[in-house]
Amino acid sequence: MNIEITFETITFAIFGVLTLAGGIGVVTTRNLIHAALYLIVSLFGVAGIFILLAAPFLAAIQVLVYIGAIAILIIFGVMLTRGMTHLPERFNRQGGLAAVVVIGGFVVLLVGVILPVWGPNGAVAAEAQPIFMTTRDLGIALVDKEQFVLPFEVASVLLTAAMVGAIAIARDDESRD
C-alpha cells in the first residue's frame, strides 16, 4: 500500500504517535505524576484523531471532560496518596504470561479481525462518504424520544448515585452512628 503524503496522513501520524507514546508512558513509568501527565498526552492525541474523523464536538468533550476533569481528578488522587510517587517495583512477578496472552490477543485482533473486515479489501467497504453530521444532530439525537433520551436520563441518575456514593465512602467519619 503506498501512502500519499497528505494533510490527513501527516496529522494522523502526529496524533497517533502522541496517543501511543502517552500510552507507553503510562504503562512503563515509575512516577505516578508522570503517569498522569502521559495519560493527558494520550488523551490529547485521541482528541486530535477525533477531529480528523469529523467529530469536533467529541474532541471538545474529550479535552474538557477527559483532560479537564478526569485526568485532573486522577492527579488529585495521586497527591492525596502522597509518598507513592516513586514506585519500588514496576511490574508484577507473574507478568510474563499475562503479557504473552495480551499480545497474542492483539495479533489475533489485527490479523483475524481488522485485516479481513476493515483492511484494503475488507468486508465493510471503505468508501469515502461525505460528512453531513453536525453537533446539532448529536444534540437532537440525545433528547429525541425515538433515540437516546432513555440512556441520557439514566446516565443522570447514575451520576447522582456516583456523587452521593463518592462522598459517602471518602468522607472522614466524624459522626459515628
Binding site: V113, G165, A168
Partner: protein, 501 residues
C-alpha cells in the same frame, strides 16, 4: 413501532420511573432534621421497592391489542416482554428485601446514602433485563456496576470493606472495558446498535467468510458477562469481594446482579448470535453453546470443590454462588431446547434469589449478634434460636437442591433442558456436582443442630423487619418447591417464547 405510543412507552419503564421517584423521596428523608424521619428511610426504600415489584405485574406486556404490546420502546432502547417482566419482579423484590436486611447492620443501616445507591443499582439491573440496544446495554451495565462498587466499600474505616470495594472496582472496570471493545467491534461490523438488527447485518453476503471477527467480538463480550455472573475463569474476584463487602451487599450482589446479568446474557446471545446466523458454514450458536458448557462445568466443579474447605460462611456462600452460576449456565447452554432452556434459567434465578437472601439474612443476624462469620461458631444455633436455624436449613437445602424446597425444581428444570437439547453429559456432571455440594451444605446444618457451644443460652436477637424477611423468603422457597413451581415456570416459559419470535 410506527408512531410513538406515549402511554405504552411510559408504562414500559414504569418500574424505573417509580425507582427514580423513590430515590428522590429517600433523598429528602435521609437529610431530614428529625431522627424519626431518618430512621424511616430503610423502610421507605425497602417497602417502596417491594411495592414497585407490582408494577410489571399490573402493566403486563401483552399482545398487539393490549395497552402495552410486547416490543421495542424508546427508539429500540428497551424491549418490554414477559422475560423482562419476570426478571424485573425478582430484581425489585431482591432490592427491597436487601434494603430491609441492611436496616439493622452497624455502619451501614443508619446511613441514608446506602439506600440511595442501592435504589440506583436496582434501577440499572431493572433496565439490564430489558435492554435491547448496545448503548442501553452499556449504560445499564454501568448503572448497575458503579453503585455496586460503592456499596462493597461502604463500611467506613473497615479495611476489609475498602479492599473489597477496590478489588471489585478494578476487576469490574477492566471487564467492562473489554466488553465495551467487543460492543465497538459489533458496531463496526454492522453500523447498527440495536441488538435485534445486528444478526441480520452479520448474516449478509459481505460477511459470509468472516467467522473469526464475529467470534472475536463474542469472546470479548463473554468476558464481561462472565465477570458479572462470576463464572469460572472470571470468578477470581468473587470470594474476596463477597467476604469483605457488608453482608447485605454480598447478598444483593450474589442474587440481583447475577439475575440481571443472566437476563441480559440470554437476550443478547439469542438475538446477536442466533442459530440462523451461520458464517463459513458454522452456526454461531454452536460456538457459544460449547463456551457456556465449558464455563458451566468449570464453575460448578471449581466452586464446589473450593467450597468444601471454607471456614468462613460468607466465603462458603461465595464459592457456592460460583457453583450456582455454573448450574444456571447449563440452562443457557441447553439453548437448543428453546423455551425449556430460557425458562429453566428464569426459574433458577427466581428461586436462587429468595434462597440466597434467606441464607444471607441469617448470616447478618448471626454476625451482628456475635461478631463472627465462622462456620464453627454457628454451633448450637438450633438451641439458641430454633427458628433462625430452621430458616437457614431451608435455605441450605434449597441451595443443595433437596425437595420440598425450590432448589430441587430449579435443578430439575435445568437438567431437564440439558437432556432435551442433547447435552446429557452436562446434566450428569451437574448431578455429580450437586452431590458434592450436598456435603458442605449438610456440614453447616450439622454444626447448627448437632454441635454444642457455650453460648447456647443466649438467643440471637431478631428485629421485626428480619422476622418478616425470613418468613417471606422461607415461605416463597417452600411454595416454589411445591405448588408454585409450575406457575412460575410457565410464566418464565412464556417469557422465553417471546425471545424466539
Amino acid at each position: 413501532m410506527s408512531e410513538f405510543d406515549t402511554l405504552a412507552s411510559y408504562l414500559s419503564v414504569a418500574p424505573e420511573i417509580g425507582l427514580t421517584i423513590l430515590l428522590l423521596i429517600v433523598l429528602a428523608f435521609s437529610v431530614a432534621r428529625r431522627e424519626v424521619e431518618r430512621a424511616a428511610v430503610p423502610y421507605i426504600a425497602g417497602f417502596g421497592m417491594i411495592a414497585l415489584a407490582a408494577l410489571p405485574l399490573i402493566f403486563a406486556p401483552g399482545d398487539a391489542n393490549s395497552t402495552i404490546p410486547e416490543g421495542l420502546y424508546w427508539g429500540g432502547m428497551i424491549r418490554y416482554d414477559v422475560l423482562a417482566q419476570v426478571f424485573r419482579v425478582m430484581i425489585l423484590l431482591a432490592g427491597g428485601i436487601t434494603a430491609l436486611m441492611a436496616s439493622g447492620v452497624r455502619g451501614v443501616g443508619r446511613r441514608g446514602e446506602f439506600y440511595i445507591v442501592i435504589i440506583v443499582a436496582t434501577l440499572g439491573m431493572s433496565l439490564m433485563s430489558a435492554s435491547a440496544d448496545l448503548v442501553m446495554v452499556f449504560v445499564a451495565l454501568e448503572t448497575t456496576s458503579i453503585p455496586l462498587y460503592i456499596l462493597a466499600a461502604f463500611k467506613r474505616d473497615d479495611t476489609r470493606s475498602a479492599e473489597s470495594g477496590i478489588k471489585y472496582f478494578l476487576f469490574g472496570s477492566f471487564a467492562s472495558a473489554i466488553m465495551l471493545y467487543g460492543l465497538s467491534l459489533l458496531y463496526g461490523f454492522t453500523g447498527q446498535t440495536n441488538i435485534y438488527q445486528l444478526a441480520a447485518f452479520m448474516g449478509s453476503d459481505a460477511f459470509a467468510n468472516n467467522l473469526v471477527p464475529v467470534l472475536a467480538s463474542m469472546v470479548l463480550v463473554v468476558v464481561g458477562f462472565g465477570f458479572k455472573v462470576s463464572a469460572v475463569p472470571f470468578h477470581f474476584w468473587t470470594p474476596d469481594v463477597y467476604e469483605g463487602a457488608p453482608t447485605p451487599v454480598t447478598g444483593y450482589v450474589s442474587v440481583a446482579s447475577k439475575a440481571a446479568s443472566f437476563a441480559l446474557l440470554v437476550r443478547f446471545f439469542v438475538a446477536v448470535y442466533p442459530e440462523t446466523l451461520a458464517l463459513s458454514g458454522e452456526s454461531l450458536q454452536n460456538f457459544w453453546i460449547q463456551l457456556m458448557a465449558v464455563f458451566a462445568v468449570l464453575s460448578m466443579t471449581l466452586g464446589n470443590v473450593l467450597a468444601l474447605s471454607q471456614k468462613n460462611i460468607k466465603r462458603l456462600l461465595a464459592y457456592s454462588s460460583i457453583a450456582q452460576a455454573g448450574y444456571t449456565l447449563i440452562g443457557v447452554a441447553a439453548i437448543q431446547s428453546q423455551e425449556l432452556s430460557i425458562a429453566s434459567v428464569g426459574f433458577y434465578m427466581f428461586m436462587y434469589t429468595f434462597t440466597n437472601l434467606a441464607a444471607f439474612t441469617v448470616v447478618i443476624l448471626f454476625s451482628e449478634a456475635t461478631g463472627s462469620e465462622t462456620i464453627a461458631d454457628l454451633a448450637g444455633l438450633n438451641r439458641r434460636s430454633p427458628w433462625l436455624a430452621l430458616a437457614m436449613t431451608i435455605a441450605l437445602l434449597s441451595l443443595a437442591g433437596i425437595p420440598p424446597t425450590a432448589g430441587f425444581f430449579g435443578k430439575f428444570f435445568v437438567f431437564n433442558a440439558a437432556v432435551r437439547s442433547g447435552l446429557t453429559w452436562l446434566a450428569v456432571v451437574g448431578v455429580l456436582n450437586a452431590i458434592v455440594a450436598l456435603y458442605y451444605y449438610l456440614v453447616v446444618i450439622k454444626v447448627m443442630y448437632v454441635d454444642r457451644s457455650e453460648d447456647e443460652d443466649k438467643p440471637i436477637p431478631v428485629g421485626r423487619q428480619y422476622v418478616w424477611v425470613l418468613w417471606a423468603t422461607s415461605l416463597i422457597v417452600i411454595v416454589l418447591g411445591t405448588v408454585g413451581a409450575q406457575t412460575v415456570y410457565d410464566w418464565a416459559a412464556r417469557g422465553a417464547m417471546g425471545l424466539f419470535t
